[in-house]
Amino acid sequence: MAAGDGRTQVATAVPATSNGSSSQLPLRAGVGLRHPHVLSFLEERPATAFLEVHSENYLGTGGPRRRALFDLARDYPLSFHGVGLSLGSAEGLDPRHLERLGRLFAEYQPTLISEHLSWSVAGGSYLNDLLPLPYTEEALDLVCRNVDAAQTAFGRRILLENPSSYLQFRHSSIPEAEFLAAIQRRTGCGLLLDVNNVYVSAENHGLDALAYLSALPAEAVEEIHLAGHARRPVGDQVLLIDDHGSAVPAAVWQLYEAALALTGPRPTLIEWDCNIPQLSVLLAEAAKADRRLIGLTAAEGQHVA
């Protein structure tokens, strides 16, 4: 029986969380909360610095998914990561979706909210992907307007994530890192640096990943994402596909270390969305990030002392 067992009791109202929206995530590693692991989290409460969820998965009216997250919000800081706001849509943001998300954030009071520099809505259809933008002055103005609209609707700042991409548009005139820096400057949003995305895009387009990192305003990076990617053969070439379906590869760990050298320790998420492994494997990946973060924190402490 679950009755009397505080850990498995279901929250029927918004919990009085100690992780209020004004605080920050710990400078440690967290994991994405995925369906196969929910029961383990509910029953065992394994240690991890924070949980990140896809906001759109919690926009049902009721049900066990939402209740489980209310329950977990008592013990873990939450980060809500959106995949459907479509900040790059020329037709602007969907006011119904903005309103639903605003209500969701008011209910759960996540510590962080984030979205992507991409688009997914056109002609009234949601295309279920993070589609690439041309980096032009027109697109820059548009994304800034949409980020402003989102931050106004939510009454708080969002973090904007650099995308992975498989193609570039000929008429792009602004390098992606500069484009992100300009949005950050103009809207006051924060940045979510996805190191795997930097690696994937750099490989796919023959760009310099370290130069990309250097072009970002390091102080604006408030969270880091790490993930694995797939390799899709194309003739005798290879395209890297950002599938979040495997362990973080060595090259991405190296780039993460380079990123941390620029930003200092930042809350770091392990994303693993397909071929989802045992929770212990996911937590072991997070521990690898933690070792790098702890090393950095210790080094900084010594430096200050």
Partner: protein, 256 residues
């Protein structure tokens, strides 16, 4: 080279190309290097098709099993490209799939597939429906018997009724070979609800389904009982009502 498209034009082009239209003008504007623009763009078309197909597979597992996984994936991808989601809540994606499947040429001689898909969509709706504390049997304790006929019940927000000319509950269960079930025939009415964490479903008599449908439409218990007995003359009303109170089919009761 064509003039630079506006962002709105580019997104309209890309939307059309992703959903199966000609990608020529879009690809004209894509950087060509060691990998051809068409091969690069194929990563996005593949993501869209596979991603939405997987969403439908997760929502309709029994339909997929009955159709055969490869057949289902093919049908689902046809549906996805013709009917992409209208909004980013993928938990709401697939509501139109059962009706589409009923009209889908290759499935037209297997109408039970769409019927099972309707049952699965009812389960999906129940899963994400509003939460409510079910009305307990004790709620009616001590009520003067003469007041019972005038009671009006509010169905639990997760309650869904699915009626079909096929044994959809048994087909969904999959414990007996589908061909044998279909040869045997038999219509089934199925009640789906989620009183707490779990979605539950059970086959009910036609009269029971009529009772719930009438109560859900605001009828009094006496009026609903009339509708129920018209469908199933020998329905044990007291037992049926008690069953609903025990399993949580109601959220509230209004006394006259």
């Amino acid at each position: 080279m064509s003039p630079e498209p506006t962002l709105a034009e580019l997104q309209a082009q890309m939307r059309a190309a992703l959903l199966g239209d000609d990608a020529v003008s879009l690809l004209d504007g894509v950087v060509a290097d060691h990998i051809a623009p068409a091969a690069r763009f194929a990563s996005y078309t593949n993501n869209l098709e596979v991603g939405l197909t997987e969403v439908l597979e997760a929502a309709f597992p029994a339909t997929s099993r009955l159709a055969g996984a490869a057949n289902f994936r093919w049908a689902a991808s046809r549906f996805a490209l013709g009917h992409p989601p209208a909004e980013p809540r993928l938990l709401a994606y697939g509501a139109d799939f059962p009706d589409w499947l009923a009209d889908f040429g290759p499935a037209r001689d297997k109408p039970w597939l769409a019927a099972v898909a309707r049952l699965e969509w009812a389960r999906n709706e129940a899963l994400f429906a509003a939460d409510a504390v079910p009305l307990k049997p004790e709620a009616l304790a001590g009520l003067p018997p003469e007041q019972v006929p005038a009671l009006r019940f509010t169905l639990h927000p997760s309650v869904r009724l699915v009626q079909a000319d096929y044994p959809i509950h048994d087909l969904w269960l999959g414990e007996v070979d589908a061909a044998a079930l279909l040869a045997q025939g038999g219509a089934q009415s199925v009640l789906v609800l989620r009183p707490a964490w779990q979605v539950v479903q059970l086959p009910v008599a036609r009269g029971d389904a009529a009772l719930l449908a009438a109560l859900g439409a605001g009828a009094s218990l006496a009026e609903a009982a009339g509708a129920a007995l018209a469908e199933t003359a020998d329905l044990d009303l007291q037992q049926t009502l008690f069953g609903h109170l025990v399993r949580g089919s109601f959220a509230a009761v209004q006394q006259p």
